[in-house]
């Protein structure tokens, strides 16, 4: 059981390592989107500090969506997805492994880049820590919920845009609690409540999303 899960994760990480170009695209997308905001809004430090957490979080949503539509699509095209579906292990384990791998490949780099971007927005040190912490709890949610969208739109024309349309509304709670936690630090109102709600949402996604996306995969591959 666990062995299968680890094999799926190792395989996807290995494949991402072989295709570093695709991987870098998503990371630079994140950096660039965030850097566009000061250019559009103006360099006033107080204003930047207010919008900073929200901007970084929204950019994280977009960056994870950018790489999501290929979560199953590549394996679907070359037939390896079929082979994995036919393996003796439960399909929910496959989708869970895929989502975890997506988080390792695309989520963890975001955590490392985010503080640098936070500095651009004049965030104080405690807020930077909170930003990383909230992203650490929040980005797995993005990968998990996103796997549902990726499975539903498998093999469809315009899959990428469609995934965004389907999944973005579901990201709303993660965005509110995640960006809210950082803002709680900035305004001094505390952020424990935000973090625990974000954690609860993560637990729920972890329990439900792999099952749903397994069902979605079955429907799409049929």
């Amino acid at each position: 059981m666990l062995k299968f899960l680890f094999t799926v994760i190792r395989r996807d990480v290995l494949l991402a390592g072989r295709r570093r170009g695709d991987w870098l695209t998503a990371q630079f997308f994140f950096v660039m989107v965030v850097s566009m905001f000061p250019l559009g809004i103006g360099p006033e430090p107080g204003m930047l500090r207010t919008i900073g957490p929200g901007v970084v979080w929204v950019a994280a949503l977009l960056a994870s969506l950018l790489s999501l539509d290929r979560l199953f699509a590549d394996d679907y095209r070359d037939g390896t997805l079929e082979q994995m579906l036919l393996s003796p292990s439960p399909i929910a384990l496959l989708t869970l492994g895929k989502a975890i791998a997506h988080w390792i490949i695309n989520g963890i780099p975001l955590l490392l880049i985010a503080p640098l971007l936070g500095i651009q927005f004049n965030l104080p040190a405690e807020a930077l820590w909170m930003l990383v912490l909230s992203l650490a709890i929040g980005t797995p949610i993005l990968s998990l919920l996103g796997s549902i969208g990726a499975a539903l739109t498998l093999g469809l024309r315009g899959g990428g845009a469609l995934v965004t349309l389907l999944i973005m509304p579901l990201y709303v709670p993660a965005l509110i609690f995640g960006a809210g936690a950082v803002e709680g630090v900035l305004s001094g109102t505390g952020s424990e409540a935000h973090l625990s709600l974000l954690g609860a949402f993560l637990m729920m996604s972890l329990l439900l999303a792999p099952w749903v996306s397994a069902m979605a995969l079955r429907v799409s591959v049929e």
């Binding site: 315009g158 389907l166 709303v172 709670p173 749903v212 049929e222």
Partner: protein, 244 residues
């Protein structure tokens, strides 16, 4: 198996055809009664003047937008559990009407907000949730439109619908939470200062009219869908002899 009898498309089609005029008539009569109450019975509000009469459509539309999403999820769950095609058809037939009511709720919310808050749009918890609900409707319809195979479209839409319905309360809660932190508006659209008995009645009757309308329209849409999907069967070919 009585239930399965009604779940068969060839039984459903003529039955729905007979029911639609009745529901449409009921919707019409109830709407007339509701409009009469909203304009001629309900008194002028001492705080908001005549502008508050918008709530006679705004509130029923907002109710409907949420109810319809839940009803869609109900049909989706039944379809996935028992593999009944008609349930998927019903879920699909409800979606555009639900989106329409969501749009109406947003539009009337804006038209109510302008004179009351001085802005067409405020990020009030209810309006924001309603907006996200509209996104959810659009998502389901876009997904179903993008898939050519009806079997896959039905199932994929149903799954998304169920995920959405689990998420709606969480989204609503999170938006409300966000709203209270950011000092939302003090006036709420649905908690009018004096919820008089007549106003409640007016809204209930309008909501009932909207229900009847929804049933009539959804049945009509489902009929067309059934016709398209069952086009190779004998009974559809026999139907085509008559008038549309």
């Amino acid at each position: 198996m009585n239930l399965y009898h009604y779940a068969s498309p060839s039984t459903f089609y003529p039955l729905a055809g007979k029911l639609i005029p009745w529901f449409a008539a009921l919707a019409f009569l109830l709407a007339i009664a509701g409009l009469y109450i909203s304009f001629f019975v309900a008194p002028t509000d001492f705080q908001q003047g005549e502008g508050y009469r918008i709530i006679f459509i705004h509130v029923p539309a907002a109710w409907m937008s949420m109810f319809i999403y839940v009803v869609m999820a109900f049909w989706s769950a039944i379809g996935l559990a028992w593999n009944t095609r008609l349930s998927f058809v019903m879920a699909r037939a409800l979606a555009p009407t639900g989106a329409m009511f969501t749009f109406v709720a947003l539009w009337t919310g804006a038209f109510w907000g302008k004179p009351m808050w001085g802005a067409w749009w405020v990020w009030d918890a209810r309006l924001t949730s309603e907006l996200i609900l509209l996104f959810l409707y659009v998502g389901v319809m876009a997904l179903q439109a993008a898939i050519d195979d009806p079997r896959r479209a039905d199932r994929a839409g149903a799954l998304l619908n169920l995920v959405g319905v689990i998420n709606v309360p969480i989204i609503y809660f999170s938006v409300k939470w966000w709203n209270t932190l950011h000092q939302g508006s003090s006036v709420s659209l649905t908690r009018a200062p004096s919820m008089a008995q007549t106003m409640l009645w007016g809204m209930l009757i309008m909501a009932l009219a909207a229900w009847m309308y929804t049933i009539a329209v959804a049945l009509a849409r489902a009929r067309t869908l059934v016709l398209e999907r069952e086009r190779q069967t004998e009974w559809v070919r026999a139907q085509l002899e008559g008038q549309p």
